[in-house]
Symmetry: C3
Subunit: 179 residues, 3 copies
């Protein structure tokens, strides 16, 4: 009789641990992406800021027509590269680790701000398809590829280097700070 | 002997409940995003519709050159703000609750349709970087921030206000209907 | 006493299977999207390639001004349709099945490459809002709708046609190869 009671208690414990699992699963998703979500919100706020800046620059009477054209072109380059950046940042964050991906995203936002605001006079960047932040994008693509490769290795060979790779990536992401 | 049999039955029950968990997990992801996916499909269909509309407007002989330029500019503003909107809608939907996020997305699509189709004559919107639907974007950014804040509170202080916040957000999203 | 020991061993087995579940869950997410992530990385690399190509084409002295304008316009159409494509590919991949979605994505990348590189001389596509790869986008939208419909059917009527639909979709995706 005691065994049955113990068993029932164990059963109850396991069912509640399953229920906990269902709750944990819901937060598990947010836990894995909350840094990426913060960077996304920041980038959206920056988009709105840049959009208002360009709108103001184009309507003011004192701006030179050539400057307006250059500003428009720079703004277009920013907006053209935005989905590329978002796609690769989210992929890198989900496939490997969110911390270095979010850190690279933050650096990219700084580079983008410097590109558009520190742009007003130069002509060197006023061409279609100009790409800035090449090094950061390259790092994010590399993270993505390493993450997918690690998953395929784990699946087909059973070897899991995820923790090693994550530590290495976190250390490598600080190298992006070198100008 | 009876205890062992009960135990085996319990074991079987728990293993099958685990199997159910694995299936539920797969549907759990779709369950949390299906409204967002519907809005995404709608926005894609709207993109295709707007694209064909602009293509037709630019090739017809009767359209005034200035009207073509205005139409192109408005179309560009629509497309520039599209990834911003998608990013913030998905973040808000995943971090907090999909129902108000999808509702705001629907409103945004209506605003966008009105912006481009009801545009053909005005000059007020023919400047680069023009932003429409500011209020909806602001609401979605707010949802995002509240969702992340709630997760951080839950993680570091153990207090979970998610249900309260979700109810409040659902009620607040109807306020967007006020013109 | 034996029953208790068996029970304890069972308890231990189940707890370890739960721990396994938590690990499996983490990989479960990557498992469901790794093909989509590969296509995303490929599309990002293609974006960078196209961007450099357009930049080079616009700065070379030998290019005709009209050709520059056409190239810029084609590049703009590519970039305008990029977030639309990404959104619908990820939705189709998550809601239904990643294999046909990734295959369609690969075909879309080929079509896009042919559109921009095989473009240099034609004038037929030099208008704003030109849409290429309509058939692939249509197929992806259809996959999305079928996936959402299947989820709703499963939820409200309890009938699950996911496997049938997945087999059918995989077969149908090869039809996209017909020129």
């Amino acid at each position: 009789m005691y065994a049955v009671w113990t068993f029932c208690r164990g059963l109850y414990f396991l069912r509640s641990s399953n229920a906990f699992l269902l709750i944990a699963m819901d937060y598990n998703i947010v836990e894995n992406i909350y840094l990426l979500a913060i960077i996304t919100v920041l980038s959206v706020l920056q988009n709105v800021f840049l959009s208002l800046k360009v709108e103001k620059g184009c309507t003011s009477q004192t701006t030179h027509p050539a400057a307006i054209e250059r500003l428009t072109c720079a703004y277009r380059n920013c907006m053209d590269s935005y989905p590329t950046f978002m796609g690769v940042m989210w992929c890198a964050g989900i496939c490997l680790n969110q911390a270095p991906a979010a850190f690279s995203g933050l650096l990219y936002l700084v580079v983008r701000h410097k590109y558009l605001i520190g742009y007003m006079g130069q002509t060197s960047q006023s061409m279609p398809g100009f790409l800035f932040g090449k090094r950061i994008l390259f790092f994010l693509v590399l993270m993505c590829l390493v993450g997918i490769l690690n998953y395929l290795l784990m699946r087909f060979f059973g070897s899991d280097y995820k923790e090693t790779v994550e530590t290495f990536t976190s250390a490598a992401s600080t190298l992006l700070l070198i100008p």
